[in-house]
Assembly symmetry: C2
Homo-oligomer: 295 residues x 2
């Protein structure tokens, strides 16, 4: 009998790639989606069973019906900087929703949860200091999930992600902005660029989720861990030059053309080997990705 | 000019006593209350300016209008054990509300916040392990408030409380249950009673809030602290016998007549002297309280 996954955040970049991989690996995949999600264009739309759920809804009926072997929680509302009227949405999406998910798991005898966190929970290398309210809501979710792990014996692994990239990424992320600037030969106002970024290809991130699921199956006891998915670390300046070099063009970047953002992360946390996902190492490189893009 | 306090949780036991003390000390007091709160019977009803606010409401207009010198945040939804349909209310009251409060403070240039936590955030002496979902929501709130403390330069002190007692307490708490059992000579089924409880008289708790406010005024820089309000520690068995002895009656308790509750706290965290509110020590004793009650 095939394994059954319940995925949240499937309409997002990483969640979508994870779903494709799970299907390719023979899992049956159910997904929790918002009623207003556009699912028609998803490549796996016929293969996945979608469950529409609304804000604050009790998830026990759907989790109890699906009875997944593993819940992959990737849904989140990401806001680098929030407006005051977005506080409720951040708390609803990033705190209340995972809590209701864990509550439903505990009520349904579903015991394996992979949660998604962010390296931005550790501003300036602190054990905990959030870069922004988004990162604080991620920490809060971990706090709440720990209750279920301890009191309801859930196996819980949180993967804290850094920046990610990959084919088909519709988010306007750094690498894509750099590639577009080189291609369009349009001047790009950038920060001074001394900050370090930590980048992992989405397929490697997906591998980290799959490996973690395997560990949850292999472990007879309970796992309760935070693990990092840390990839290539580069100064933004060096990354920009590398993008230009690899694509055979000088990058038209104006470093210092805009200031650093408030609370810019200059040095992301640097997890030790023993804090990473065991057995995981990235296969993809930014360079090979760029060569693929330029082809 | 008198100092201005904005109090949440004023209809609760500790919040009400704090408001009385602030008024007696010459503060002007504003309070955020729910629309359905019954305020008519409050002794200070004529002295306090009440602001009715509904769930999820933007608090910037009211905080900006009141412009308090200190915000005393005591409102909370306490549930020793929650039902699945109460998860939303716990997150709304204990996480979203204080976040909206801090957001409004940051927007209004209000910088001093005293938050209320619980010793139950530290089950079995862990740095963080919540006894119940209530305690987890308190931890989550601390983690969200830390964002505002760091990014918006709020001065933030969280007072983590243990059990409290005092005259006029309408909560059915241990001491009152014991007193009633002695008075009514009715057999009381109790747990085996080996757990330790940590009890502080409400007037001493109020003192801790007042002292903390003084520290916020005296501090030229920013405070960012967690402080404990820990009082008399006793085994439940010993406490019960002391109640009987003090009231001149054998306590009709049947120890072991009911089991410990799930996740019973056997030994509460024992904060060191340097983790307590500086300059604070309890004045009231359980014994003097009991002698007062029996008069």
């Amino acid at each position: 009998m095939s394994r059954r996954a319940l995925v949240t955040g499937i309409t997002g970049f990483i969640g979508g790639k994870l779903a494709e991989r799970l299907i390719a690996d023979g899992w049956s995949v159910d997904a929790l989606v918002r009623p207003n999600s556009d699912l028609s264009t998803l490549p796996y739309a016929d293969t996945v069973t979608f469950h529409q759920i609304s804000d604050g809804q009790d998830l026990t009926p759907v989790v109890g019906q699906v009875k997944p072997d593993v819940v992959f929680h990737l849904a989140s509302l990401y806001l680098a900087e929030h407006r005051p009227d977005q506080v409720g949405a951040l708390v609803g999406s990033n705190i209340l929703f995972p809590t209701l998910l864990a509550e439903a798991m505990a009520a349904s005898g579903v015991t394996r949860l992979i949660n998604t966190g962010t390296a931005w929970q550790q501003f300036n290398g602190a054990d905990y200091l959030p870069v922004n309210l988004y990162a604080a809501t991620k920490q809060a979710a971990e706090d709440l999930l720990l209750y279920y792990a301890d009191a309801k014996s859930l196996s819980l692994v949180t993967l804290r992600l850094f920046d990610t990239y990959g084919e088909g990424d519709k988010r306007r992320k750094l690498i894509q902005i750099l590639v577009d600037a080189v291609r369009n030969r349009e001047p790009l106002a950038m920060s001074p660029g001394e900050q370090i970024v930590d980048l992992t290809h989405v397929d490697d991130v997906v591998n980290a989720f799959i490996l973690t699921a395997e560990r949850l199956f292999a472990e007879s006891g309970q796992l309760r861990e935070v693990r990092y998915v840390s990839g290539e670390r580069q100064r933004v300046r060096d990354l920009a030059e590398m993008v230009g070099r690899t694509l055979g063009q000088k990058i038209p970047a104006d470093f210092g053309g805009r200031p650093y953002r408030a609370r810019e992360v200059m040095v992301p946390p640097a997890p030790g080997e023993d804090e990473m996902v065991p057995g995981w190492s990235p296969i993809h490189t930014i360079k090979s990705y760029l060569l693929g893009t330029s082809a």
